[in-house]
């Protein structure tokens, strides 16, 4: 049985390891979860991912796979039911294109917003709003990026939740809201309502606290 011995090394707050949890749960794959302390990485993690020593790492029957999108493709190819990528090559290309966009453009922009100030921060916010408008163009009128059910891009776009929590930690509400980005906002509500997805979101209060600790001076105290 391909299901034997699945382990996932991750952290509670990393959107990247959370993605893998969603993928595994969507497929109904049983797995052992190992919470890593990234300031004190376990020998097991270093053994399974000596190249970049990062989470997430999926270990399947003793064989490690690293990099969140690589892992997601592996999961989809190994457990073929409930596919997370569509069948059509063009649709697959679109999902991969926008997933890449999220990691290469959206994620750096989101991280900058938390540490930037004044005019620079405003510029970063404008930039990320444009990015989110681009994503809305891909979503259009669908329930999820994957159509009727969660797909590769919905899972990849979990970083948007990170941004929403960051927004709250900053005491802001103007980056992503219903007025500015109604299509994406609607999608976000459906995402957070989804039975599988909502189990894989960092607990909000704990996440807010972490923001305050990490980005203390940028965050207005409540």
């Amino acid at each position: 049985m391909p299901e034997e011995g699945v382990k996932l090394f991750g952290t509670w707050v990393s959107p990247f390891s959370r993605r893998i949890e969603v993928a595994l749960k969507l497929k109904g794959v049983q797995y052992e979860y190992i919470e890593e302390d990234l300031t004190n990485k376990s020998p097991a993690l270093l053994h399974y991912n000596p190249v970049n020593k990062q989470i997430p790492v999926l270990v399947h029957n003793g064989k490690p796979v690293a990099e969140s999108f690589v892992i997601m493709e592996y999961i989809d190819e190994t457990w073929k039911h409930n596919p997370i990528l569509p069948a059509d090559p063009y649709e697959r290309a679109m999902a991969r294109f926008w997933a890449k966009y999220i990691d290469e453009k959206f994620w750096p922009a989101a991280r900058k917003i938390v540490v930037a100030k004044g005019e620079e921060q405003k510029g970063e916010i404008d930039e990320i709003q444009q990015q989110m408008k681009n994503l809305e163009g891909e979503l259009k009128e669908k329930k999820f990026f994957g159509g009727e059910s969660l797909g590769f891009l919905d899972i990849a776009a979990n970083i948007i939740i990170w941004l929403v929590v960051a927004q709250e930690a900053l005491g802001m509400d103007q980056i992503l809201n219903e007025e500015k980005l109604p299509v994406l906002y609607g999608w976000l509500q459906r995402l957070l309502d989804d039975a599988v997805f909502k189990e894989c979101v960092p607990p909000k209060d704990r996440h807010l606290d972490l923001f305050k600790v990490k980005f203390g001076s940028s965050i207005a105290s409540k």
Binding site: T78, A93, R96
Partner: protein, 250 residues
């Protein structure tokens, strides 16, 4: 009907990202029309087909555009199943290939570009990082090939071969311009023999610009990064890039 199946590739002769797609198309035996883009004066078509990034390569197939070279490579593999596969069949082997492809793209390529664009202490630091990454790749190749000789020819180049080729196919030009030898057979024997092997593949050879042109490209990239505000260079840049665009060697 013929229009539907037509393949067009918008590209630029000096771009290694475009090169990746060309190699893949040729390996699969897919006929295509190449549209040379002037990157200073991007065509309306390019801006229409890639509004998000406005970059090459863009593949047009069945009237639809696909952007980002790695996304295009997977699209090609999934659409034209008759030609040689660009990825292995087994999911775990596919994951390893994708992992190392991502490593070359993010860890190696970025740092090589940093070496090109820097000098002095900053460059020395960047060079050190490249050597560290090369060492990791050399180790990774041992695991990837599992002690077997990795035989490459025009029939079995995969995405990792293609991506590595697009970076180090120009290693001699890099060496000449940067004064650093990355593909050192003594330090990295597996990697060096691999690079030698793929530069000998007929398809790659046919697509490779001449050495002097590659030297010019690297010199230009370096000049642009280090002395962009030098008198006259900004004005000249447009002309230089345009002349780069138009001086396709084919």
């Amino acid at each position: 009907m013929a229009e539907e199946n037509k393949v067009k590739l918008h590209g630029m002769w000096a771009s290694p990202y475009v090169k990746r797609v060309e190699i893949a198309l040729k390996i699969k035996g897919i006929p295509y029309e190449f549209v040379e883009e002037d990157l200073v004066n991007k065509s309306q078509l390019l801006l229409q087909y890639n509004p998000v990034h406005k970059k090459v390569p863009v593949l047009i197939h069945n009237g639809k555009s696909i952007c980002e070279s790695l996304v295009i490579l997977e699209y090609i593999d999934e659409t034209w199943k008759n030609g040689p596969p660009l990825l292995p069949q087994d999911p775990y082997k596919r994951a390893k290939v994708r992992f190392w492809t991502s490593f070359v793209e993010k860890e190696l390529l970025e740092n090589v570009l940093l070496v090109v664009r820097s000098e002095g202490e900053a460059q020395e630091k960047a060079i050190k990082v490249v050597f560290e990454k090369l060492k990791l790749l050399e180790e990774g190749l041992k695991d990837l090939f599992q002690g077997e000789t990795h035989h490459i020819d025009g029939e079995n180049m995969g995405i990792l071969d293609i991506v590595l080729c697009s970076l180090f196919g120009a290693h001699k030009a890099q060496e000449e311009v940067l004064g650093v030898k990355f593909i050192d057979p003594e330090k990295f024997p597996l990697l060096s023999s691999w690079v030698t092997a793929f530069t000998e593949v007929a398809v790659v050879k046919a697509l490779q610009p001449p050495h002097e042109k590659l030297v010019m490209v690297y010199q230009f990239l370096r000049q642009k990064a280090l002395r962009p505000s030098a008198a006259g260079v900004e004005v000249k840049e447009g002309v230089y890039v345009t002349s780069l665009s138009r001086s396709s060697p084919f």
